[in-house]
């Protein structure tokens, strides 16, 4: 069985015919050619496949594409705007939050969800929000520093925008 789903991915609308048993990770990578979300464990254990569904982090390797009709999906490909990296992408790059880089798209999407609901998280809150994302390079210290730095950038950007208003 297949069904037509309507989804918004990184701000663009799509309608696609998907088999009932297709996973969201396969839909994103194979149909939409968005290969940023990674297939790691294929069992919901590593977080490399994390994307945002209606703003909440979601493991796309254990989500059926057919259950995503009408939702808003955000992937790592939609984070950069106008040719500029997002604060999280910039901080991960500059502070070596990405080592081999395989876990990075999932880490950034989970961190993005955190910073939207909590613009100034402490270490514990960052650790808890990223607890479902595993880095095999074990560079967790740099990742936490990068999330702090991105949070600061975002707060400064917001303050600057308010001053300029």
């Amino acid at each position: 069985m297949s069904r037509i789903i309507s989804v918004t991915i990184n701000g663009r609308s799509y309608q696609d015919l998907v088999p009932d048993n297709m996973l969201l990770i396969d839909y994103l990578r194979e149909r939409r050619h968005l290969t940023g979300a990674k297939q790691g464990c294929d069992g919901g254990e590593c977080g490399a496949c994390t994307v945002l569904v209606n703003g909440a982090p979601r493991l796309s390797c254990i989500t059926l594409a057919s259950s995503c009709d009408g939702v808003n999906i955000e992937t790592i490909e939609g984070q950069a705007r106008g040719g500029h990296l997002s604060p999280l992408q910039r901080a991960f790059h500059e502070l070596l939050g990405a080592q081999c880089g395989y876990c990075t798209p999932g880490m950034i999407m989970a961190a993005e969800a955190l910073l939207r609901r909590n613009p100034d998280p402490d270490d514990d809150q960052i650790r808890q929000a990223l607890a479902g994302n595993i880095c095999r390079c074990t560079g967790y210290g740099a990742i936490i520093r990068a999330v702090h730095a991105a949070a600061l950038m975002m707060r400064e950007d917001l303050a600057g925008a308010e001053v300029g208003r």
């Binding site: 048993n21 493991l59 059926l64 595993i134």
Partner: protein, 326 residues
């Protein structure tokens, strides 16, 4: 090695009656809530289903209501939603700690209360890829004839690893179930059986609808032993509740991760002022050791898990009683 999802039809009923009708019409169907357990198992070839009945749009399963009589939690409420809910948690600490201990934050956004209670049992010889299990002639739980954990036994020893069940047990929860023969309500302990291959006492076509917690008295807590601080299933987990005051402290304990179902451990008498605390908690520890039956279902030795969970139980109980560790 990537394994591919088998083919099935994905149905999304809009009501409980519609879901029950599909289950009655299609005996090869399986109920799916958050999917964090079921979809992984299907992908590994551990579960076959011609139809997946997705309960995500059934409003009746998302009830969350607290009043003077207690708390009702719909089986379809996600763990994250329950954790964030504006409830009076003062008497429900074990539940809150158990919720926070389940897997990782992203799983909790998807996983539901009903799905956590009804999750499959786990074993080193079962939660493996198809080629791994085939190379070992499968196992008694699925497609095989021998339990590799206890080859001389006649039942599957896979362990029940849900975090919520023990917390709900010590808080005196009941569950309501809907099925082709109507609705029924049972104590949460009666939902489970000590058989790793058939650990749920749900009849064919039945759906878990809600969990009902009476207004609790006293204090409670939940602790979990696992290899990593997140994501992992419990090697063992224990919930403890404590009620009473001047006439003595009554303790109830429930353990997960050690048997094929969650195990209740009642202390037969309260701890009174005349009791020596060390003796009382040593007795509690021994009772837990006797009640549990950890097997070689994980890479961690059963003996270690037995000792650890009994020590954890006594430590948590001491904390509730306000008695310092020895």
């Amino acid at each position: 090695m990537t394994e591919y999802m088998p083919e099935f039809e994905h149905l999304v009923p809009a009501s409980l009656d519609e879901a029950l009708a599909v289950l009655a019409e299609r005996p090869d169907s399986r109920v799916c809530a958050g999917g964090t357990d079921l979809l992984v198992n299907m992908r590994r070839g551990l579960v076959e289903a011609g139809t997946l009945v997705d309960l995500g749009m059934v409003d009746a399963l998302r009830i969350l209501k607290q009043d003077d009589t207690g708390l009702t939690i719909g089986a379809g409420v996600t763990l994250a939603a329950l954790l964030k809910a504006d409830l009076d948690w003062s008497q429900l600490n074990a539940l809150r700690e158990a919720l926070a201990a389940v897997a990782g934050p992203t799983h909790r956004e998807m996983a539901t209360v009903g799905g956590n209670l009804c999750q499959d049992t786990r074993c080193l010889y079962y939660n493996q890829s198809e080629w791994w299990r085939r190379s070992n002639d499968y196992c008694l739980k699925y497609r095989g004839e021998t339990c590799h954990v206890a080859p001389k036994g006649n039942r599957c020893r896979a362990a029940y690893c849900g975090d919520l069940a023990p917390a709900l047990m010590v808080l005196g929860a009941e569950v309501s179930i809907a099925g082709p023969d109507g609705a029924r309500r049972v104590g949460i302990g009666d939902l489970f059986a000590e058989d790793g291959a058939d650990h749920l006492k749900l009849k064919a076509g039945e759906i878990l609808v809600a969990v009902h917690l009476p207004r609790a008295e006293g204090r409670s807590t939940y602790g979990k032993i696992r290899q990593r601080g997140a994501i992992d299933f419990p090697l063992a987990g224990v919930a403890v509740s404590c009620r009473g005051r001047d006439d003595g402290l009554w303790f109830s304990l429930a353990v997960t991760g050690t048997n094929s179902c969650p195990v209740m451990v009642e202390m037969p008498a309260p701890m009174t002022r005349d009791d020596a605390a060390d003796v009382f908690f040593r007795d509690m520890s021994r009772r837990v050791q006797k009640a549990v039956s950890p097997q070689r279902t994980t890479t961690v030795a059963p003996h270690f898990r037995r000792l650890s969970v009994s020590a954890l139980a006594a430590r948590l109980a001491r904390g509730l009683a306000g008695v310092a560790d020895p």
